[in-house]
């Protein structure tokens, strides 16, 4: 097609290269991180305690899996709670509840992470699900707020045009409002993921597992190698998850925006 495109959109080829360049950075860092960790481990002067603490099959792998599953489950729960709630609170008939609910959610977030874990422990006992619920509670707010902002920023004439042509309220919500809110909702979900990866490092305190266990063991043993390995792995998991979230965000972002 030779016709000039109004609006000055860049040629698609160039844009692909740019966005991909952005997305290439994180995998490079993660790969480099893994390589450096291994090199550091191999060259270190390791004690028996180090080797025990950093045993892959026995400790690191299960902790890594726990860490990821804590993060994912809590994020799934967060989305399952916050998105429908956000939709509800932006409907005309429930809008007056938006203020109070946001106030409660905001003050909930003011509880320190550690305090929240302890409260959850006192209420639900120990175990991964206690940790998952605690993380969920912590990240409902950003997703809820982004869902509401995302839905509210859909311009009124767009909704009016949809209604005016005979789309039902549900059709307007599903075909227009939600797709247009997707980028902002996903930004909230990404924030939740990042918070959850970090918080999952504390889950071991209440028997939830995760890479926090290795870090804590390293501190107790005063072994730098163990502490560094645990901490760097946590960071690499965080980076990877954020990268995957970014990919999903790009893929789900409606074209034309």
């Amino acid at each position: 097609m030779t016709a000039a495109r109004p609006g000055g959109t860049r040629p698609p080829g160039l844009r692909l290269i740019r966005t991909n360049a952005e997305l290439l950075v994180t995998p490079l860092i993660v790969v480099a991180g893994v390589v450096l960790l291994r090199a550091n481990y191999n060259s270190a002067d390791r004690s028996f305690a180090d080797e025990r603490a950093l045993a892959w099959e026995r400790n690191l792998r299960p902790q890594l899996e726990q860490h990821i599953s804590l993060t994912l489950w809590s994020t799934i729960l967060t989305v399952a709670i916050a998105v429908p709630l956000g939709i509800l609170l932006t409907r005309a008939s429930y809008r007056r509840l938006a203020g109070p609910v946001l106030a409660v959610a905001t003050s909930g977030q003011a509880i320190p992470a550690f305090g929240l874990l302890v409260l959850a422990f006192a209420w639900l006992g120990s175990g991964p699900w206690t940790a998952i619920w605690a993380l969920t509670f912590f990240t409902v707010l950003p997703v809820l707020r982004n869902t509401m902002v995302g839905l509210d920023q859909v311009s009124q004439p767009i909704i009016e045009a949809g209604r005016g042509m005979g789309l039902t309220r549900t059709q307007v919500l599903r075909q227009i409002e939600l797709p247009l809110a997707v980028p902002i909702i996903l930004a909230g979900v990404r924030t939740a993921l990042v918070i959850n990866v970090g918080m999952a490092a504390l889950a071991y305190l209440i028997g939830g597992g995760g890479l926090g266990a290795t870090i804590s063991a390293g501190i107790q043993l005063s072994r730098d190698l163990v502490v560094i390995t645990g901490a760097v792995m946590t960071a690499l998991v965080a980076l990877s998850i954020d990268w995957i979230a970014a990919l999903i965000e790009k893929a789900l972002r409606p074209r034309g925006l």
Binding site: P6, S155, P157, G164, M165, G166, Q175, I176, G256, L257
Partner: protein, 397 residues
């Protein structure tokens, strides 16, 4: 135009429709009776905030009336499913409201998709509508709204509203946010389009000139959407019923009435003194003296008007009719409006406009007096109509 077309049967009828917004004690629309004639453009025009948009949105029940009822094809639709009702009425708003995440084709396909049309039929319909609204489907079909100019976007807005060939089109200041030149073009194209599709249209605007241009009939609304005058633009211009209306339509409205008649509709002056190039100037002078006019028109061998000459030119010894006197500039075709004719005439040296046919041949003359007569006649006809209305409201049409 001595006889105006009778008002067609109403496609939509509002009966005592009122709307009081919650939390307000004065109605935005008060006990409105309104007939929307089938196949015509009815313009609702009035000052900002008088309730035009509210009235329009009552028709497709975007707003539920607090009183009265709405008939669509004679059927009371005050309590049918509003979503189903709206799919039978296209809706166009000033801000357009295209769905930014959908292509132009998807936008236009909105209502057909809702109605469950099959893919092939939808594609054909979309291409047809884009064509109809002056957008090349092969270029625009797969674009996104942000890639369009304001004028193009509103074309898509109109195409989308026509999606499933609705019986009725509701338009709320559709060209209000578009620059004047593009607006003028869109208005003209829309009128041409309406000539083909003959929809029943309710068109809201606050701009009286747009109302006059677009409306087959105009309802001038005052506060609370009360109808101050409901009539054809010609008659409203010729005879505003009260000060509110005449203030609203503004000065110069009488002259605007000249837009509604064409040169071919009125009688031309056919015994204007004429002379052909190369004929005897003395003979021309005799003709001019024998007529009440002060100018004589010189035609070329093909009967095309060439020059104006007066007795001073003709009195000059050895005058050549081919070069004497000012050139004829003001020429109008029979299908020009009288308003165009007036403009031409005011620019003319002789104070006359020459009517010519397609090939430029002389047909007759129109002067200011003739236009003034037309205005007087329009006014007296409109007045007669309203006098008759006052005596016998039933008999009026």
């Amino acid at each position: 135009m001595s006889v105006l077309p009778a008002v067609p049967a109403p496609k939509i009828r509002l009966e005592g429709v009122g709307k009081i917004y919650p939390g307000s004690d004065t109605p935005a629309v008060e006990a409105l009776d309104l007939d929307v004639p089938e196949g015509e453009i009815l313009v609702l025009v009035g000052p900002s905030g008088c309730g035009k948009s509210t009235t329009l949105r009552l028709v497709n029940r975007m707003i539920e009336p607090t009183s009265g009822r709405i008939l669509f094809d004679g059927e009371d639709v005050t309590s049918v499913n509003p979503d189903a009702l709206r799919r039978r009425m296209g809706y166009v708003i000033q801000q357009i409201g295209l769905f930014p995440h959908q292509t132009i084709a998807q936008n236009v396909a909105t209502v057909p998709r809702l109605l469950g049309w099959d893919k092939k039929r939808i594609t054909e319909r979309v291409d047809h509508l884009l064509d109809l609204t002056g957008l090349d489907p092969s270029i625009y079909r797969d674009r996104y709204p942000k890639e369009l100019s304001g004028g193009q976007a509103q074309r898509v807005g109109v195409a989308r509203a026509l999606g499933a060939d609705p019986e009725v089109l509701l338009m709320d200041e559709p060209f209000g946010a578009i620059d004047p030149i593009t607006r003028d073009r869109l208005q003209n194209e829309f009128l041409r389009l309406q000539g083909e599709i003959e929809k029943t249209i309710v068109f809201v605007t606050h701009d009286i000139d747009e109302a006059i241009k677009m409306g087959d009939r105009i309802a001038i609304l005052g506060e609370r959407s009360v109808i101050r005058q409901f009539d054809t633009p010609e008659r409203i211009l010729a005879y505003p019923v009260d000060d509110f209306v005449s203030d609203f339509i503004g000065s110069g409205s009488t002259l605007k009435g000249l837009n509604f008649e064409r040169v071919r509709d009125i009688e031309w002056n056919n015994d204007f003194p004429l002379a052909e190039v190369g004929s005897d100037p003395a003979e021309a002078r005799r003709r001019l003296e024998a007529s009440p006019e002060t100018w004589l028109l010189v035609l070329d061998a093909e009967q095309r008007p060439l020059r104006w000459v007066n007795d001073r030119h003709l009195a000059t010894a050895g005058v050549d009719l081919a070069t004497a006197g000012p050139e004829v500039i003001a020429k109008v075709l029979p299908n020009a409006t009288l308003h165009d004719c007036l403009e031409e005439l005011l620019l003319s040296n002789a104070g006359q406009a020459v009517v010519v046919d397609e090939r430029g041949r002389y047909q007759g003359i129109i002067d200011v007096d003739r236009l003034a007569d037309v205005l007087k006649r329009m006014r007296s006809e409109a007045k007669k109509h309203y006098d008759a209305l006052a005596e016998d409201p039933e008999a009026a049409s």
